[in-house]
């Protein structure tokens, strides 16, 4: 019986932008790297994202945002993550997030930000090298 523990990743799109090609590229890359990837689809509220992460018991959340709304969306998401007791989940983000906002986002608990031009290999390497220790 095949029963190795698999890494489960949630790729989520908070905010209102409808560009998800990048998110899908990352999702496919992580799938090809042997992970189970759940994609939420577009225009997710913080509540939807965190509830999904909880029900799917994911190890990692990847947030993709291109609308510039990360400064409003990410704090809400990270607050809910704390509230729901999901602080052992590793959160990374990507999309259009200016360099000057990166440290602020990391202070919220987002482990890494992958801007435009990041290769999928970099993301896969990072994820595999930074797997959270979960119960």
């Amino acid at each position: 019986m095949e029963n190795k523990r698999k890494i489960r990743v949630l790729i989520a799109k908070p905010g209102l932008d409808s560009h998800d090609r990048g998110a899908k590229v990352v999702a496919r890359a992580l799938r090809d790297a042997g992970m189970e990837v759940i994609y939420t689809g577009l225009r997710q509220t913080p509540e939807q994202i965190v509830e999904t992460a909880l029900q799917e018991d994911v190890d990692i959340i990847g947030l993709s945002i291109l609308s510039g709304a990360h400064k409003t969306q990410f704090p809400r998401i990270m607050k809910l993550i704390k509230k729901q007791g999901l602080t052992d989940v590793m959160v990374f983000a990507g999309g259009i997030i200016p360099e000057e906002d990166v440290s602020e986002m990391k202070k919220l608990g987002i482990k890494e930000i992958f801007g435009p031009g990041t290769t999928t290999e970099e993301i896969i390497l990072y994820v595999k090298g930074n797997l959270p220790k979960r119960d």
Binding site: K4, K6, A27, R28, R31, E36, T40, Q55, E56, D57
Partner: protein, 319 residues
């Protein structure tokens, strides 16, 4: 309290985080898995389990979203397990059924879990069956299991579900497809989705024609329904038929007894097979004869079946 007890108690209370952890435990066959199932098993058997299957693209997930909404209108709580295939090459999976149900994700009485087949043939696995048990024990009135739509050999689903709904979309095959064994024999309800399309009627007629040639189900005549999942058209009627089937199963106590017995025996045999083969194979591999026999097979002095016979006979006589 042990971790197993903590998770089990949480599941029985309907705590969502506990449900999530429980499914992870059984899916990864962690050491707590057996103890966990043992604790929750006495509390299963209350939910109505619906299996929903059909080829990819027929509209299963979209239809499930509408089905769940309809049941929520009737104040029923629902668990959904959406199964997608694991890549045989990479071991990874893209679990994309949930997208179509995302609006339901914040409804506290709906629990959705995406699972990958993890290379178990037939579209459904022990982990999926156990996940259904967990949602049942957690108090969900309904558990819907959606399978990969791997094609026509998805008969495994009947081991989990009490009501099997098979979804077709128009133009996916002519009447010959409708006659083929396997998936078409397991349906309690047929649905032709995307019924707004031109050839929907013909598809429904083809299925009806196949059903008329057949008299298997004895007592329950599988209806052929038409739906348009995107708009919700036909969904209320589908729910009515599901409920009718549930009552049919309840009322026919002889049939119910027989089904329960068949299921119980199948589960026991599966568990026995898994344990026997695991422990026996481990033991046989350690036998001195093992390597000798492999040599014999290569040199064609013995065939594999006879070699196996020798090993197994020895193990049984030693026992």
């Amino acid at each position: 309290m042990t971790k197993t007890e903590e998770i089990a108690n949480g599941v029985l209370k309907g705590d969502r985080r506990s449900i999530a952890k429980a499914i992870t435990v059984i899916e990864n066959n962690m050491p707590e898995a057996q103890g966990l199932i043992a604790k929750i098993y006495p509390h299963t058997g209350k939910a109505h389990v619906i299996g929903l299957t059909g080829a990819a693209g027929a509209g299963k997930s979209t239809l499930i979203e509408k089905i769940v909404r309809e049941y929520r209108q009737r104040s029923k709580s629902v668990g959904v397990i959406a199964v997608d295939p694991t890549s045989p090459f990479t071991g990874g999976a893209f679990l994309g059924d949930r997208i179509r149900m995302q609006e339901l994700s914040t409804d506290q009485d709906v629990y959705i879990r995406s699972m990958a087949t993890r290379n178990y043939a037939g579209g459904i696995s022990k982990a999926t069956k156990d996940a259904a048990k967990i949602l049942d024990a957690a108090g969900k009135d309904l558990v819907i299991v959606e399978t990969t739509g791997a094609g026509q050999s998805e008969v495994e689903i009947i081991r989990v579900a009490q009501t099997v709904v098979v979804i077709h979309a128009p133009g996916m095959g002519d009447e010959i497809q409708a006659i083929k064994a396997g998936i078409m024999e397991i349906a309690d309800i047929f649905v032709v989705n995307k019924a707004d399309r031109e050839n929907a009627n013909k598809t429904a007629i083809d299925i009806q024609a196949m059903l008329q040639m057949d008299n298997k189900k004895g007592g329950w005549k599988p209806p052929v329904l038409k739906t348009v999942a995107l708009t919700g058209e036909g969904v209320a009627e589908l729910i009515e038929k599901i409920e009718e089937h549930r009552c049919f199963l309840e009322d026919d106590t002889a049939r119910k007894e027989k089904l329960l017995k068949t299921k119980a025996e199948a589960e026991l045999l599966e568990a026995i097979k898994e344990r026997v083969s695991r422990t026996l194979i481990e033991k046989l591999k350690k036998e001195k004869k093992y390597d000798e026999l492999i040599r014999g097979i290569i040199e064609k002095t013995i065939d594999p079946a006879s070699a196996a016979e020798k090993l197994v006979k020895k193990a049984i006589s030693d026992a």
